[in-house]
Amino acid sequence: MKVVITAIDFLYNWARSNSVWPMTFATSCCGIEMICTSAAKFDIARFGSEVFRATPRQADLLITAGTVTHRMAPALVKLYEQMPEPKYVLAMGACAVTGGMFENDSYSVVRGVDRLVHVDVYLPGCPPRPEALLDALIQLQKKIRTETILDRKKYLEAHKPRVKLSDDSELALPLDELEIYHWGVQTEGYELNKDVLTRKNVEDNCVRLFGK
């Protein structure tokens, strides 16, 4: 039985991965590099992304190119939920991966698209070169080829959005049942930078952080 499934899987994944149709979600500067990738010099159509669909109902891949702010977050989650399965997200650019240069003290930037939706491939760069975007697309194609149709339910579980949208608020609200784990080192390191870095200070802080 499994033999049949692997054969079907191979054909199914081969067909899907060679024709990934992206959707334009060009918010900011990375959007221009995305357009450059679809222009004549770095042609993305030869990798299967023949057209850039404007509507989420006909697209496979959501390339979040650019900074996502608090006002834009509900729109992104709605677009993601409107895409039919199977769907993928490519976080393009430093602003979509972690918040980029605005991560430190901007008051209205979402620190990374993966706080909102499930991301498959991360692509750093500010902005990433068109060749880098093509490399990320190839990686995504490789990832698609490793999927199986028996695990469809697992993919559905992973694709649930991570924030709650409400009708009367323009902001995205936190989900009660989901806890986002932050790497503790980040907050600690920020406090470290506030002191003057003398040798005694560094040693004391290391004892506090890592124990002795």
Partner: protein, 167 residues
């Protein structure tokens, strides 16, 4: 805080535009010029609309473009800054109005220049300066339910609805 951001205490000689305004009966105080010699004039809050209309209509000055309306948070007061430009004489002027921090209200210039509509909304959004007689004063750059005015120096972001975005 430098005396630059408070009302200038020492007397500065009136530049050309301040002289024209004073000759026509407006009680304005000239301030120190900017580093590239643009005149800065301080206007009191209740005379702003008259001074702006005079500067726009007078044949000697004819400031027909309003470049921007912005604000500065200067500790004990908020300053509203207006930047005007004249296409005929090709010169600039900056008008400053010192406002009380507890009640920062000033008349709106939307009857004089239509460009001030969105600039005043942005200043209200980011700094909290209220413009009286503005046609539609609501937040423009931030979502409507945002709490606080970010560009103030004492702004701390502690909105509990955005805890999912903590660093």
């Amino acid at each position: 805080m430098s005396d630059y951001l408070e009302n200038n205490i020492q007397e500065v000689a009136a530049g050309q535009l301040a002289a024209i305004l004073q000759n026509n009966g407006f009680n304005v105080k000239p301030q120190k010029n900017t580093a590239d010699n643009i005149e800065v004039i301080e206007v009191s809050a209740d005379k702003l609309v008259e001074v702006a209309t005079f500067l726009k209509m007078n044949v000697d000055t004819h400031f027909d473009i309003l470049f921007s309306v912005s604000g500065i948070d200067a500790g004990e007061s908020l300053i509203a800054v207006y930047h005007l430009f004249s296409t005929q004489f090709k010169n600039n002027v900056i008008l400053k109005v010192w406002l009380d921090r507890s009640q920062p209200e000033i008349a709106s210039l939307s009857q004089v220049y239509s460009a001030s509509n969105w600039h005043e909304r942005e200043t209200f959004d980011l700094l909290g300066i209220k413009f009286i007689n503005h046609p539609d004063l609501k937040r423009i750059l931030l979502p409507e339910e945002w709490i606080g005015h970010p560009l103030r120096k004492d702004y701390v972001m502690n909105d509990s609805r955005l805890v999912w975005n903590k660093r």
